[in-house]
């Protein structure tokens, strides 16, 4: 088994890239791989507590919790979050609220790295 690190910068609403990153993380975790998921830029919105489910919006909070239960480590960029008014207390439990060095360190030790930029 190996380690996959995915960094995603796309937004939760209006983009499919974050859905893709979460689903690929789950598929890799189900295969027994170690997975790190880094949320940066608009993707940090996914780390925010209290999101509400709407019919045609991506609603990934439950998926994130199930990923964490499967051992996926999720990190959210502190600067990008704070820049969007998301503070440490607003972040879903067990999501690491930290600087980008977390992502760089994880990527450096990974077998595979997939960086999904902004559209």
């Amino acid at each position: 088994m190996g380690t996959l690190t995915i960094g995603v910068f796309s937004s939760l609403i209006g983009s499919m890239n974050l859905d893709f990153a979460v689903k690929l993380s789950e598929a890799a975790a189900d295969k027994g791989h170690n997975v790190n998921l880094w949320l940066s830029g608009n993707a940090t919105i996914l780390a925010q507590k209290g999101q509400k489910e709407f019919l045609d919006y991506s609603y990934l909070i439950e998926k994130i919790k199930s990923l964490q239960e499967k051992g996926v480590q999720v990190g959210a960029c502190e600067a990008c979050s704070e820049g969007r008014g998301i503070h440490a207390g607003d972040v879903i439990e067990d999501i690491t609220f930290i600087g980008m060095d977390w992502y760089v360190a994880k990527a450096a030790k990974s077998d595979r790295v997939l960086h999904i930029g902004v559209e």
Binding site: M16, K23, L24, A27, D30, K31, D111, R112, I116, G117
Partner: protein
């Protein structure tokens, strides 16, 4: 280098794709990139499918989300699931890119 490229847009930058060089190249059509596995322009397959020596894959879930069935997919493109993609990227391609 064994490179796996994720192509996620319909009107993306083909130029970058055609400049890529790799010992082994896999192109994964995901999100709106799946249209390249389906569409014909003037009766011809999408230019994205014309990268010499590349292996092409298309994500089945993104096909179905957009109302396509697997038998509409170009014969040079292999239909895969997320699980298959996890296997391919962990076993067959050591570098990954997102276009």
């Amino acid at each position: 280098m064994k490179l796996g490229v994720f192509y996620s847009e319909l009107r993306g930058n083909h130029d970058v794709l055609f400049r890529l060089k790799a010992e082994k190249l896999g192109i994964f059509l995901v999100s709106n990139g799946i249209y390249h596995a389906i569409i014909k322009e003037k009766g011809e397959p999408s230019p994205v499918l014309q990268k010499q020596g590349a292996d092409y894959y298309v994500l089945s879930e993104d096909l179905q989300t957009r109302g396509f069935s697997t038998d509409e997919v170009d014969s040079n493109v292999k239909v895969v699931t997320y699980s298959d993609i996890a296997d391919h990227i962990m076993n067959d391609y050591d570098k990954l890119a997102w276009l």
